[in-house]
Symmetry: C2
Subunit: 352 residues, 2 copies
Amino acid sequence: MASASDNTELITAHSLREMGLAVLSKLGVPEADALDTIDSLIDADLRGVPSHGMRRLLWYAQRLQDRGTNPRPDLRLLAQTPGTALLDGDHGLGQVASKRAMEIAITKASTTGVGVVTVRNSHHFGACAYWAELALPHDMIGLCTTNGGVVMAPWGGTTPLLSNDPIGVAVPAGKELPIVLDVATSVVAGGKLDIAASKGENIPLGWALNSHGLPTTDPLEGRKGVLLPVGGHKGYGLTVIFEALAALISGARFGCDVISPSNTSRPMDIGHYFQAISVSAFSSVELFKSRVDALIRQLKSSTLAPGTDRIFLPGEKEFEARERHLKSGVPMPGEVLEQLRILTTRLGLSTK
Amino acid sequence: MASASDNTELITAHSLREMGLAVLSKLGVPEADALDTIDSLIDADLRGVPSHGMRRLLWYAQRLQDRGTNPRPDLRLLAQTPGTALLDGDHGLGQVASKRAMEIAITKASTTGVGVVTVRNSHHFGACAYWAELALPHDMIGLCTTNGGVVMAPWGGTTPLLSNDPIGVAVPAGKELPIVLDVATSVVAGGKLDIAASKGENIPLGWALNSHGLPTTDPLEGRKGVLLPVGGHKGYGLTVIFEALAALISGARFGCDVISPSNTSRPMDIGHYFQAISVSAFSSVELFKSRVDALIRQLKSSTLAPGTDRIFLPGEKEFEARERHLKSGVPMPGEVLEQLRILTTRLGLSTK
């Protein structure tokens, strides 16, 4: 096993997958569902987004053990039109409903040009980028958003009433890398505060308010208070809209009625929104991709600001990290690996 | 005629409409198209967003006189599927193509649950909110974005290569006001720099860079340089995505190939994206609206941060401004009125 900086170890994606599948299988999750779930988590680690990576398996496992998450959901299509569907996630892992929902959106888009599928009664689905990217092999633009645990206040307020709903969008390119945006509506994702806390580091002012509504540099205090929306009223406005798309329209829990993620014995019942847009409904696919490439090259031709080495497109750093980590192994913090090993031992699984 | 603070005059929406219709009619725009255009501009003034209001008529008129904008476009449907369409705006006023495109999106959504219409060969369409709101009487969620004149650099760069593509979304509510978001992907819209300049005011650091790529507080210098994206890489990422949706997929000019808005003799050939989502494809409309109302009331229940009087939902300030201005008259800066009067005199129209 190779070693990286500080206490991080480099693990192959293969052995992480084996470990993850064993854990979920032991907790009653069917193999195909376990594979979708673990692949979405490992993909986040590969892309250099550990806040949505295998560290989340610890939480997922606790929820499955405490029956807050249903290991064998019976996904049901509650409504559909030629271009839309509403799926009930039956309190299962978010990835299980998300895989099905995005596939339906893609199928709809192949005949009606655009497909929208919303989901209710679901859980955390990992990173948005993973689901948006499913559209790419179909020459479609993929888009998704979700609500989640309550971490933000409305702009001008201090009470945690909203999730920092993220958006993911993937746009197919030709010779260049696809454009893949995945951003939360807070200045930073809550996972970044957790990582700072686990490293004993401070956070910059402007990321969060403490439970008294005052600016804080302590990540643990910030987690007890609220994350601040990106761009003030703009990030607040976007999260309200994403809440409408993901939760209000699907019949999921919304706003402060979402069950706390740390309440591991009760379903969170959050909602998701998935959309696929077929490029061929508007353009020849080849022409479109050449235009995407041309925009990418235009942007890369920019004069650089002082201190900048290079212009990146959304998702480009993550594609490069994925390629690097597929060769080197996935960097996993020692304490996360330790907790994963304790979990596998507790579940009576052999540790590799 | 009532008077307001400084040199602002309060004009009735009716007399602004008469003036606007006379100008566009004289410049060869058919009456129905002129009405759509003027109504979108007056609506922005009514909503307290003068950057997208009647001051734009001066620019529209110059473009029509210089033949950069086609007064009588022949809108053509270039492609369609059950859920999507592509419309050619034939270099006309943006409002003319936008009205038609949003209507088609709504019609599509009424049978396929969701409708997406993109537009090429178009111009400035006023404020996004106006088009998104067209979905509301149909119990649909409306959404739109557009590209435009080049005002932003990619994140990490200093060359103007992108528009600060805005997004507008309207969500129908029950007893509460609809939620209407309309935000640009820059920290502030370029129009705010123009207004600061016209008042001889400075702008805060963080709004713009000058033509040397350095921070500036001079709005005119900022207009020669680049606007800064909201939330750094997040606003940059969003504008790249909106560029893909509005311009890349429609076949419009994109990135730095958009013709400068100040080149009044050449079509800008920008693109738009319109989407309508039918609430009834997912939920009973009544239930959905009661859930929107419940979220609004949750948010308004927040403890207030120091210095805040009240929690606002996106669009709420603008609805209140509209109601106020419909009674009081529309506030119009003296210099804009003066220029509009010079224009009407030049065109040989009687000034009222």
